[in-house]
């Protein structure tokens, strides 16, 4: 379906995208994940034809779309600020794309009616969009983007402008609507929770490059580098050096684990210690392998406690089933399967 190939783009004279290649397959929901300013939105705008890449191409079903005008592409794009036309009513906003596509009045009326029902706004089609709440605006914007039945739907931080509670509620709704539509979707966000709960496949964008691509659980289990682990909040990252085959030296001491064969001995890397993989049962490991950790804080999180512990000068956070007294020194260890050595 969609294929973008080796896209380069400069912004204010600085390179923003440095050779991006990926595909979106039929009915697939792809999340483009990255921090703000990473060029995610620009990538969408290039696919939509609102901006031209410096080099590289955009293909749709094998046809080169790189220089095709926006209005001829038949893609849908929902803006982060929704961009609902303030001089038009709710119904007129939804009808806009159909009207521009030259559909008949009758057809437009029935399609708009259906769209209004699907967002439960059939009772006030004439309302000015300037009087809608944030959540209502979001629903209208989605209905407007979907109305002309686009081949591909792109959403730019669709929940970015909303407060926390509304986000959680709308995320569920959005998930259902996007899956029901069975359209290929590119969903841009900086929020990993959103991405994990929605995506069939994740694309992580950092410093102008796609640093990792894969299903959510694969990315979660096997982050390719330290940035991915840190961005996704996978756990504690401690600077480390590979001193021998499968041996890491850190401020916390030495750790044995299987390092990637690409990593040369003597090179710097990051050790990932997942908080949910911490062991407190000293009997399970030999006494020389555990760390002495001083409990600094213990926070009740519902189904676990979150501990902040100090090991030497390094602050780590770990999850435990039970609480510990603050100030107490406890033994702490990780099994090899919960340790990862990541390149910088």
């Amino acid at each position: 379906m969609l294929r973008v190939e080796d896209i380069y783009k400069d912004y204010d004279g600085k390179p923003l995208l440095k050779g991006i290649t990926f595909e979106v397959r039929e009915g697939e929901l792809v999340c483009l994940l990255g921090s703000s300013g990473s060029g995610k939105s620009t990538m969408l705008r290039i696919i939509a034809g609102l901006e031209e890449p410096k080099s590289g191409r955009v293909f749709w079903n094998g046809e080169d779309y790189t220089h095709k005008p926006t209005h001829e592409r038949g893609f849908g794009l929902m803006f982060q600020d929704y961009a609902l036309f303030p001089h038009r009513s709710v119904a007129e906003n939804i009808a806009f794309g159909l009207r521009m596509a030259g559909r008949s009045k009758l057809e437009i009326n029935s399609l708009v009616e259906n769209a209004l029902v699907s967002i439960r706004m059939q009772d006030f089609p004439k309302r000015p969009v300037t009087e809608l709440s944030g959540g209502e605006q979001q629903r209208v914007a989605l209905a407007r983007a979907l109305a002309p039945d686009p081949h591909l739907l792109m959403l730019d931080e669709p929940l970015g402008a909303l407060d926390h509670n509304l986000r959680t509620e709308l995320l569920k709704e959005l998930r259902k609507r996007l899956h029901d539509s069975q359209k290929p979707v590119i969903y841009v966000t900086h929020d990993q929770e959103e991405a994990f709960s929605l995506a069939d496949r994740l694309l992580l964008l950092h410093a102008g490059l796609l640093v990792q691509e894969g299903a959510p659980e694969a990315v979660f289990n096997q982050p390719t580098n330290a940035w991915v682990a840190s961005f996704l909040g996978l756990g504690n990252l401690v600077p480390a050096k590979l001193v021998a085959i499968n041996l890491l030296q850190t401020d916390l001491g030495q750790f044995k684990l299987r390092a990637s064969p690409d990593l040369e001995i003597g090179s710097d890397c990051m050790l990932l210690l997942r908080p949910e993989g911490a062991l407190f049962d000293v009997g399970a490991i030999s006494s020389s392998d555990y760390l002495h950790a001083v409990v600094r804080d213990s926070v009740f999180m519902g189904d676990y406690f979150r501990l902040d512990v100090l090991v030497g000068k390094t602050l780590l956070h770990v999850h435990t089933p039970q609480s510990f007294t603050i100030g107490k020194t406890i033994p702490l260890a990780w099994s090899e399967s919960n340790l990862q050595c990541l390149p910088l």
Binding site: A48, H71, G76, L77, A83, F85, P86, F96
Partner: protein, 562 residues
Amino acid sequence: MKRSKSLTWLLWLIPLVFLLFFFYQPLLAIFRQVFSERFNQGWQFFSWDQISRPLIFTLWQAFLSTLLTLLIGLPAAYLFARFEFKGRKALHTLSLLPFILPTVVVATAFNTLIGPRGWLNLILMYLFNLSNPPLNLLNSLPAILLAHVFYNTSIVIRMVGNSLTRLNPHYDEAARVLNAKPWQAFREVSLPLLMPTILGASLLVFLFDFTSFGVVLMLGGPQYATLEVEIYTQAMSRFNLPMAGLLSVIQLMVTLLITLAQNRVKKPRFGKAALSSEQKTRQRALNARQKTFVILMCLLLVVLFISPILSLVSRSLVTFEAARGQRGEFETGFTTRYYSELFSNRSGSIFYANPLAAIRNSLVYSVMTMLIATSLGFLTAYALSKSSRLTRWLEPLFMLPLGASAVILGLGFLLTFNQPPWTSGPFPILIPIAHSLIALPFVVRTNLPAIQGIPNSLREAARVMGAKPWKVIREIDLPILLRAVIVSLTFSFTISLGEFGASSFLANARTPTIPVTIFRYISQPGALNYGQALAMSTLLLLTSAAGSLLIEKIRLPGEELF
């Protein structure tokens, strides 16, 4: 509490009395003149033709001027709002210059470009060895239109450009993603959102074109008289004051209608949201079509804005006179004689305008205007900022002078104050007072947002810390307002220096101002008179440009003069 209330009343009272006496009294005198004449003679003192001819012509030229202004102004606004290019800032500043130029300077500048003694004719005479100027573009409708376009394009650029810059670019993009062709996106989305601003700007341009005086008087000649010029002619040449009064009443009514229409248009129909984007909207021209647009538009604006100014300055430094006795031969060359003549004191006939006296007079009037307008305007703005039922009733009373033209003010003064002690006093105080009335609305508009912008909590904090009311003003308000005050001082000084409409009624041979003297010089034959008019215009141009640059530098962001 009680004392502060009485103090507020006092703030009101000073500007109110001033306005009642010097603005509403003369206005009333015009109405009285018309209707007492009607009472004595019936409507015998005029024929309908005398009214309909100038009225129709005024509306017609204003309509054409506005149309042409939009034709250049809208693409220019688009250029500044959407494109980044070398020299953009300089060109933008340049495009704002015409608005503050005195009418006589603009008229003189166009005279040096297209007049019989202007560059265009001189070049043609030189090329084809002619002894007489081949083109007669002066005293024509195109000359008037050209000057009006030169004048008002800056209004369209500023108003529409501002809205365009703040118009969220996502609207247009959303439309294009929703299958709209670029022109459809423009027609369906951008244009309706910009319409209130475009209409507002058009009405303002129309208003300025409708009340245009100096330019029409000096470039239009006798057969192209607008209402303003006709009022002047009837009053000053024919001494038909009832007729001048009647034309003024009609002029005022039309002005009022336009202002009402403006207020209707200004009300935002769909929230402020549409025009509050902080997205970056400017970018470099990408394709050949955009590049061509940018280059052609820049070229057009440079020619429109620079050529009259350059022509004025250069022509004031060049002598070009028919050599004595030899047909078709000319003496040419660089000269500073026109400038040095300004400062040599010669006395001549009673019609002789003394340039040195004019410069001295103008400077004195300007300083007085500066002080009167700024202090009164500041008081008014301060009183208006204290919102109450009273202020809502009184505000239009203070803003009305904006709609009344300088010529009508001049006529009203002539009818009201043409008697001792106003005429016999040692100093012609009427001119600075008239200038102050003209500058007053601008001063109020500059100061009001500045005053309203000071949060009351600052004053309260000062009061809690033990500051007396006058100390609060000195310690809190004044430092913050200093910028607005400096802008007001500069603005009223510049307005007074270039004011022509009211001065043309009030300045007599004893008390000429610079613009009045320029008008007299340029209406007379002789190369020296012409040259001196140009030299004075150039000096006035430089002063106005310096003033407007100063205003641009210190003006607070968000303050608009119109």
